[in-house]
């Protein structure tokens, strides 16, 4: 190593030693507070309230790990779907159908209730609804992702 080169290396490093800790610290300070995707207990679910709870089903949705509560409000059936884990699919729509079991295609009578949220949401079923199934439909792949029968 020759002397001017040694000095050049030392200066380059001294420069980095000033710039990088500052940049690193600025990046850390600027970090946004962690976003929680799951519902904090205190936040009320969106949608109509459930005045008369009827059922709570924990395992109706298999891998999707959605808690489901069913009840009545003003004579209508209201269903609450509450993700217990992060929902990784942004494209899921919730339908109701009178059918008791559902294949890959959406039944002809399917009635759109809304989209599945990353927080708990409540959906009011159509007035005629009694029993039947809830269906989660994936827009991206145009297919039924899961379904669960509703208690009568």
């Amino acid at each position: 190593m020759i002397r001017p080169l040694r000095r050049r290396h030392a200066r380059a490093m001294a420069g980095l030693a000033v710039v990088l800790p500052l940049g690193f610290a600025a990046a850390l300070v600027a970090r946004e507070p962690e976003r929680t995707t799951l519902l904090p207990e205190a936040v009320a679910p969106a949608g109509p309230a459930i005045e008369a709870p009827m059922h709570a089903v924990d395992d109706a949705w298999g891998e999707l790990d959605l808690g489901m509560r069913v009840g009545r409000t003003a004579g209508r059936v209201v269903v609450e779907l509450a993700p217990r884990r992060e929902v990784r699919r942004p494209d899921l729509l919730v339908y109701w159908t009178a059918a008791e079991s559902v294949g890959d295609a959406l039944p002809g009578d399917a009635y759109l209730l809304g989209s599945l949220g990353e927080r708990a949401r409540r959906y009011a079923l159509p007035a005629r609804a009694d029993g039947g199934s809830l269906v989660l439909y994936g827009m991206a792949h145009h297919g039924v992702v899961a379904s669960a029968p509703l208690p009568r």
Binding site: M1, I2, R3, L5, R6, R7, R8, H9, A10, A12, M13, A14, L16, A17, V19, L20, P21, G23, F24, A26, A27, L28, V29, A30, R31, E32, E34, R88
Partner: protein
């Protein structure tokens, strides 16, 4: 082109070095993907590979940047330096794999040219937390590419040493860009303090090590020649040290006339040459005499002590300096001899 092309010498040490390196990289990548799958079963293979390649390249860059100063601090690390450029090229390919997969994953399926998309998909250039960190990675990759592409000695000769060295100082630029690529990218998304601690510790290590080694080198340069710091003893010679302070087959390095000179003792004789190896400016004075030749500790270039010339067929040459012995003390004339009139050697007994 008037340049002679010399094939890379593949010796046992180089092969062993490369095998160890390849094995370490393979083990790291496999372990990263394996542990990643175990901890996060939902992660896709692409994501795990992107992260495995990215972290492997970044970790290897830390190793590469540590070798230089570590070798200044202790000769035990010299075996790492021997083939450092293979580490650099490997690191480039790991970074390339990470970048290529990232571009496929995040930019290929849009309607914008993927390379343009790296710069335009996120336009928050004024925002720290949401800063487009990917162009920083791409800029680093370009620098690493230029260095990897010119890493062969052929380019060292072709570009001339000063240009080549300036180009390879780019590693500091690349390192700075990558620290910010990670701090503004992965560290914004991953919240675990573990990642912050890892990146921060790596940064403190690299900066601390370099500044410490640089400080020691600067102190050595300032110290000058011998105990009497270059006291003139007549005829332009300066006092260096007692003959017995130089072990056989080794050198005493002194700073004279602004540069380092190595005074070698071998088989009862003394000879002084510039301590700057002609290959890549390695510290010639930290080598030893092997088979009658001064041998550079970095890549083993050899020079005949009396003439400063590499034995044929090689043509490298380092400047030589006159030495003599008076009353058991070594004295050096810090004016280099002109080429073609080498300084020769003298007996440790004081006779010519």
């Amino acid at each position: 082109m008037g340049l002679e092309y010399r094939a890379v010498g593949w010796n046992r040490q180089k092969k062993l070095y490369d095998l160890t390196l390849a094995a370490a990289v393979a083990v790291y990548l496999a372990a990263f993907v394996g542990v990643g799958l175990a901890l996060k079963p939902n992660a896709t293979a692409e994501t795990l590979l992107i992260r495995a390649f990215g972290t492997a390249a970044f970790a290897l860059l830390h190793v590469i940047l540590s070798i230089g100063p570590l070798c200044r601090l202790s000769p035990r690390f010299l075996p790492l330096l021997y083939n450092r450029r293979h580490l650099g090229v490997t690191m480039f390919f790991l970074g390339l794999a990470h970048a290529a997969l990232s571009i496929v994953q995040f930019h290929l399926f849009g309607d914008v040219n993927p390379l343009v998309s790296v710069f335009t998909s996120n336009a928050h250039y004024g925002d720290v937390a949401d800063f487009p960190f990917q162009p920083l990675g791409l800029a680093a990759l370009v620098v690493l590419f230029l260095m990897a592409a010119t890493s062969h000695d052929f380019w060292l000769h072709n570009l001339t040493a000063p240009t080549w060295k300036a180009l390879h100082m780019g590693v500091y630029v690349a390192y700075g860009l990558l620290v910010m690529h990670v701090a503004l990218g992965a560290l914004q998304a991953e919240r675990s303090p573990l990642y912050v601690v890892l990146v921060g510790a790596g940064l403190a290590w690299v900066l601390g090590l370099h500044l410490y080694a640089a400080g020691r080198e600067a102190a050595r340069d300032r110290a000058g020649v011998g105990p009497a710091a270059g006291e003139e003893v007549g005829d332009g010679f300066v006092d260096v040290c007692a003959v017995d302070e130089i072990p056989d087959a080794r050198a005493r390095v002194v700073c004279a006339a602004g540069e380092r000179v190595a005074i070698y003792r071998y088989g009862g004789r003394l000879a002084a040459v510039s301590s700057v190896c002609q290959h890549q400016n390695g510290p010639l004075g930290e080598g030893r005499v092997i088979d009658g030749c001064i041998t550079c500790p970095w890549h083993g270039y050899q020079y005949v002590p009396e003439t400063g010339e590499s034995p044929p067929p090689f043509t490298e040459r380092v400047p030589t300096f006159p030495v003599r012995v008076r009353d058991g003390r070594v004295q050096l004339d810090p004016r280099p001899r002109p080429a073609g009139r080498p300084a020769g050697s003298c007996s440790v007994k004081g006779a010519p």
